[in-house]
């Protein structure tokens, strides 16, 4: 196990971070994941970019909600099983409270002009966060300056963005390609040694 983060009030920090992100985020798992990445990788620097991308791949390959899985995994990484439980509760609590209240006032909520305007404005902000994360991640993939990385990224982007291929298939294919590449390189090293 990687060294856990030694920090005073780590549980409180994990809880408030996940609670705030979950309470302020509209949209799917990728959006919440972008916010977690911004907070834990870029601001707190508790997790490296490489590690974060591995954790996302793990979160994605488990059943359940991507956003919750990412939060659990970050909690586990930084503060063990107790940390995972804290981030789980922090992430789940806001929607639970909000949905319980809104289920009583849905119609009034939906027809409110100011709320509709705010929601529309927020769409542009969500788009910005996702573009920012895409830039950071592509840079990270390309930082080793290998042709293999460029080809893999181009192929994955083509499949995901233009062909609409199921992301589970892309993950499987990329994992296999990475494994085969490493195996081939190890063989070559053995041969030359």
């Amino acid at each position: 196990m990687e060294k856990q983060i030694r920090e005073p009030h780590i549980y409180r920090k994990l809880f408030t971070t996940c609670f705030m992100i979950s309470a302020c985020t509209f949209g799917g798992g990728m959006v919440i994941m972008s916010l977690l990445q911004k907070k834990f990788v870029e601001e707190l620097k508790w997790i490296s970019q490489d590690e974060m991308m591995d954790l996302i791949a793990i979160a994605q390959s488990c059943p359940g909600v991507m956003a919750v899985n990412s939060a659990i995994i970050i909690g586990y990484r930084t503060a063990g099983a107790a940390g995972a439980f804290i981030t789980l509760i922090g992430t789940v609590l806001p929607p639970m409270i909000i949905l319980s209240v809104i289920s009583m006032f849905y119609r009034q909520f939906r027809d409110n002009y100011v709320i509709a305007l705010l929601l529309k404005g927020m769409q542009a902000g969500v788009a910005a966060v996702l573009i920012h994360t895409t830039i950071m991640m592509c840079r990270n993939v390309l930082k080793d300056r290998r042709v293999f990385s460029v080809i893999m990224l181009a192929a994955a982007v083509y499949a995901a963005v233009f062909m609409g291929v199921d992301i589970i298939l892309i993950i499987l294919a990329c994992g296999c390609a990475g494994g085969i590449m490493t195996f081939a390189e190890m063989k070559k090293e053995e041969g030359s040694a």
């Binding site: 359940g64 789980l88 927020m122 902000g125 969500v126 966060v129 895409t134 995901a160 296999c176």
Partner: protein
């Protein structure tokens, strides 16, 4: 007993909802609407709309909503916790495995191969959401359809984010307020 039914149903849904969000909708609908008859189809569609307007992931929103409708506050706690429990166990098991074996060279190769997939996945999501925010959907992409205010807000936010001037939550909230003001001044219909 109703709480027991909620527990069993949402444990199962939690264990089998792969693909996230819209991907697992059909499975949830078949159980909640057709098998248990806790909601009508119309109510189920309503929750999806609610989910789009409220924070939080879709699956959690549905579990919370169904729980509160069927059995009040205890219902929402049972349904939501049951829904996330299978993932909690599996995610921790896989993370343990990852930290135990990730220094192996073969595993490192696989993980390195996965990173382009993750980047592409985020990009695909970025394209969809940006198309929606800027052009009102992926089918309407053209210069004339662009929502200039939204494009401008997004670009300013990207610069601020890249320069680490603001966090992501601030970027979204700031966009919401700025956007609402601009749209209100323009008298835009929503």
């Amino acid at each position: 007993m109703i709480l027991w039914d909620l527990l069993v149903t949402f444990l199962l849904l939690g264990a089998f909802s792969f693909g996230g969000g819209m991907g697992s909708m059909e499975l949830i609908r078949s159980r909640v609407v057709e098998q248990r008859m806790w909601l009508t189809n119309a109510e189920f569609t309503d929750i999806i709309s609610i989910s789009e307007m409220t924070p939080g992931p879709l699956g959690i929103n549905i579990a919370s909503f169904v729980g509160v409708r069927v059995a009040g506050v205890p219902g929402t706690v049972v349904a939501t916790m049951a829904y996330v429990l299978p993932a909690f166990v599996i995610v921790i098991a896989l993370s343990w495995f990852y930290y135990r074996y990730r220094s192996l060279k073969g595993i490192q190769g696989v993980l390195k191969g996965l990173r382009p997939a993750v980047a592409a996945m985020v990009m695909a999501s970025a394209v969809k959401i940006t198309a929606n925010a800027w052009f009102g959907g992926q089918d309407n992409i053209s210069f004339g359809n662009a929502n200039a205010a939204a494009v401008l807000i997004s670009l300013v936010m990207i610069v601020l984010l890249q320069n680490k001037k603001i966090g992501a939550v601030q970027a979204i909230l700031l966009s919401g307020v700025t956007g609402a003001l601009i749209y209100a001044v323009l008298g835009m219909a929503v």
